[in-house]
Amino acid sequence: MSNPDQTPAVAKTSLLKLDARTRKRNAAETRFKAYGMIAIGMGLLMLVILVFNIVSRGTGAFQQTFVTLEVELVAAKLDKKGNRNLDDIKKVSTFGYAPLLKDAFEAKVAVAGIDTGIKPKQMAAILSKSAAAQMRDFVIANPDMIGETVAFEFLASSRVDGYLKGRVSRDSIANDKKISPEQLDFVDQLVSEGSVTKRFNMSFITGSDASDARPESAGMGVSMIGSLIMMMVVLVLALPIGVAASIYLEEFAPKNWITDIIEVNISNLAAVPSIVFGILGLAVFINYMHLPNSAPLVGGLVLTLMTLPTIIISTRASLKSVPPSIRDAALGVGASKMQSVFHHVLPLAAPGILTGTIIGLAQALGETAPLLLIGMVGFIASNPPDSIAAGLMSPNSAMPAQIYEWAKRADPAFYERAWGGIIILLVFLVSMNTIAVILRRRFERRW
């Protein structure tokens, strides 16, 4: 119980006093530990940056700017013959509707007392290009409303939307022909007047992709259906085949070179780059079998081949975890080998198999590279399929392919959509993985 200060200088060194070498070693120890903590910290930091980046840049896509405008559906322009005949009304193209928008803006400016120097045509340019089509659809659906004044809620153009979200500023549009600072002033006036508002945009989740000129109306809905159909194909094919293959390899296969080859094969397939599966799909399913390009069926088949190894590996692990005593007991009371497997082992392994399958599906859902090769990008998935057969065979996109498509487009307004699409994709992935974890926690048995 001596204090170093009080110790008489009998011994030249004290155990309690650290010599230079020990201090060096201790410092090295601390450093080493710090490296480890820094490494973990950096890894977690990357995760935080990534998530923050996705959320901060993507949430904007779920909001959209709308312009409320009262448009008089002038009968003289929309129904020249005045007989409310639907065929005649349909003859008026969207160009015929455009002047109504200008008139509506003029009326609005007069009523609200907005002082602006810009022409009605420029006022109408703050609306999305889909505005005229939206009116036309409305009129065709409600021909009796012709002549009335109807309050429409139009999408604002992507520049105006970007202005309200802070993406577009007066500096950034210096060389932009699509919008001028005066128009932004006009938008400011409308905002304070209350007819330009930003609110939640459901059609981003349910809607279809739109052409390059209309980023404001592009949505994920159709590609979501494409992904869903592909996942169905994967589930229907990969689960039974994977389970059958695992049962054979785990329960029945004799130990010989054929089995060895199959096992080595499966573990290697799990590590083959995904793009190679895309090449396989292109060469076999499209080039040889002449299945249609861009069809979710082909995507599903390719993803099935990719997911099979994952499912087989996890199924085998859960079959392996069923203790041999279960099999022995079944065999002991006279079940055949097949009966013992199908009646006893398989049900006990089912939660593990399900978990593995969900994780495999989640992987397949996020896979993009093979889909590029079978042509699931590069076109506009505009209409949801009208039947299951059409859903399988007609060209469609998939969620990750749609995100890629948006990332490739020139207009930065699409980037926001891409980040928003990623949020939707991640919501799917997170919920699938959560379900898998819950299933595992809830049903996993330990022997």
């Binding site: 090295a28 120890e29 450093r31 080493f32 530990k33 490296y35 480890g36 490494a39 973990i40 950096m42 890894g43 977690l44 990357m46 995760l47 990534l50 980046n53 996705i54 039974p240 059958a244 293959a245 054979y248 390899l249 199959i262 094969n265 290697n268 397939l269 590590a271 083959v272 793009i275 190679v276 599966f277 895309g278 090449i279 396989l280 292109l282 060469a283 076999v284 079998m289 002449h290 249609p292 099979l308 190894p309 055949s336 080998k337 989640a362 993009t368 590279a369 590029l372 042509g375 990008v377 590069g378 057969a389 065979m393 007609s394 990750p400 995100i403 890629y404 990332a407 980040w419 990623i422």
Partner: protein, 506 residues
């Protein structure tokens, strides 16, 4: 388009034939199940104790006999028929007919389109089946088909029309025979199985043998996939080397595809870009991943471990498209802000012009690989026997000395294996480099320049309009094969190392 499930109208017709056939076989199956079951029970006088197997086995046996051979033949038929028809029709086209700059593949495309168009015309009622058969090349086939929405590139030549007619009739005959054979097989199987269903028939044994065979087929699908990958790429690669010298592909110095022909298609610049990006990715991922693994397995308490490990592994579960977007829209512009923009940039230099660069892709890929390295290394470090640590600590070594001088050397082979696996991941990664690396093939050591990789080129050569007779398209298969061999080699090598190491301590 012969395929039964076809999007076009004419395909739905064929789909219905195949679908009806499929449903008919299934119906026969159900019928066979109940018939066989009841017959067996009736044979035993209703007393199931006298049966060899449970009654359901007799039913299952009948269903199996009915469906499996019939459906198996149907699948093979559907796969083989187009190949046989193609060869037959191809033989009809004289070699002189193929123009300069055209190919048998293009002519066959025309043949298929004409045949499809005629089918469509017959189906929509614009043409009677007889008329379609008698159609001569003098009539305006192209105009007629154009009316029905089938656009042809040129007027239909008599040879093409004749080939198309043969194609149609062969396809029709093929379909008819398929129906006959499949239904015949199903009926034979049905009859045999039902007549076999007597009480002393060992139905269970037969059914179980059948199921075992099905299980084996499922297991061998893995081999089939590998075979499909290798063969499809091999055949197209051989085609490629027929039209393009192999020496240029493997040893040439430049990559300059040119769709007018005469392209330089060498893999070396692409390989350089791939390896460079992978190297950067590994220099990011290996230190971070390795130190994280060491800390987690040697220092961290159970609480930190339970939180940090799954969080790190989230990074591995994020789809690569997300990383690609992250590279293109976040990391790339951030790097440009540092290394580019001249005086406006943070460093005031003008070294980087665009967001896509080797460094962009490499950094992001490194982030993706962190959990890969860390969880593999974690497993390997944990597999080092505790006695070795105890021995070292007992001799007075500090924990870090123990790790550096005892644990890591013991785990080294496994860690090398893990790094090799990560490298193979990096080489085969597509989306990050497609979005983040750029498209310029060159040998350069500057990480701030855009470069391209094998996977990027595969994507760009195979998307859009592809013509499977031009070397510019076919080169993608040679690239794919190289990539496959490269990653497979790395994987096998890594697995051998890991396995060898595991044996040492078991």
């Amino acid at each position: 388009m012969w395929w039964p499930l076809n999007g076009t109208d004419n395909g739905t017709l064929r789909m219905s034939i195949t679908a009806i056939l499929f449903l008919a076989v299934l119906a026969l199956c159900v019928l066979g199940y109940s018939l066989a079951r009841n017959r067996a029970l009736a044979g035993a006088g209703g007393d199931r104790r006298l049966l060899h197997s449970l009654p359901t086995y007799y039913g299952t046996n009948a269903a199996m006999f009915t469906a499996v051979p019939a459906l198996g033949v149907m699948v093979i038929w559907l796969l083989a028929q187009p190949m046989m028809i193609e060869t037959r029709v191809q033989g009809m086209i004289p070699a002189s007919f193929i123009d300069e700059g055209s190919s048998i593949g293009l002519v066959m495309n025309d043949v298929r389109r004409v045949a499809d168009g005629l089918d469509l015309a017959v189906k929509s009622g614009g043409l009677s089946a007889d008329d379609a058969r008698k159609l001569s090349a003098n009539s305006d086939v192209r105009g007629m088909l154009a009316d029905r929405g089938v656009a042809l590139g040129s007027d239909v030549k008599p040879e093409v029309l004749a080939a198309a007619q043969t194609y149609r009739s062969a396809a029709a005959t093929g379909r008819m025979w398929m129906v006959v054979v499949v239904m015949g097989l199903a009926l034979i199987g049905f009859a045999i199985a039902v007549s076999l269903s007597k009480p002393d028939f060992r139905a269970r044994n037969v059914v179980e043998r059948g199921i075992l065979a099905l299980l084996m087929v499922a297991a061998s699908l893995a081999i089939l996939t590998t075979l499909g990958i290798v063969l499809s790429m091999l055949f197209e690669s051989i085609n490629f080397f027929r039209v393009h010298p192999a020496s240029d592909f493997f040893f040439g110095g430049s990559w300059a595809p040119n769709f007018r022909g005469d392209s330089d298609l060498s893999i070396l610049p692409l390989l350089w870009g791939t390896l460079y990006i992978s190297l950067i990715a590994l220099t990011v991922a290996v230190p971070i991943g390795l130190f994280a693994a060491i800390y987690l397995s040697e220092y961290a308490g159970p609480k930190l471990r339970a939180v940090a490990k799954p969080l790190l592994e989230i990074l591995a579960g994020i789809p690569t498209i997300v990383y690609g977007l992250f590279a293109l829209l976040t990391v790339g512009p951030a790097l440009v802000r540092v290394f580019g923009r001249g005086d406006e940039g943070l460093l005031g230099v003008e070294w980087m012009s665009g967001a896509t660069a080797v460094l962009t892709a490499g950094l992001v890929m490194g982030i993706m690989l962190i959990p890969f390295v860390s969880s593999l290394s974690d497993d390997i470090i944990n597999a080092v026997p505790q006695a070795m640590r105890d021995g070292s600590l007992g001799l007075g070594a500090t924990p870090s000395e123990t790790i550096r001088q005892v644990v890591l050397p013991a785990a080294l082979p496994g860690i090398v294996g893990a790094i090799l696996l990560a490298a193979s991941r990096a080489i085969g990664e597509t989306m990050i480099v497609v979005l983040g690396a750029g498209a310029i093939a060159k040998f350069s050591a500057n990480p701030l320049e855009a470069m391209t990789t094998i996977t990027t080129r595969i994507v760009s050569q195979l998307t859009g309009d592809t013509d499977f007779s031009s070397p510019e398209t076919l080169v993608a298969f040679a690239l794919g094969l190289t990539l496959f061999v490269l990653t497979l080699g790395l994987n096998v090598f890594a697995l051998i190392i890991v396995r060898k190491y595991r044996e040492q301590y078991d």
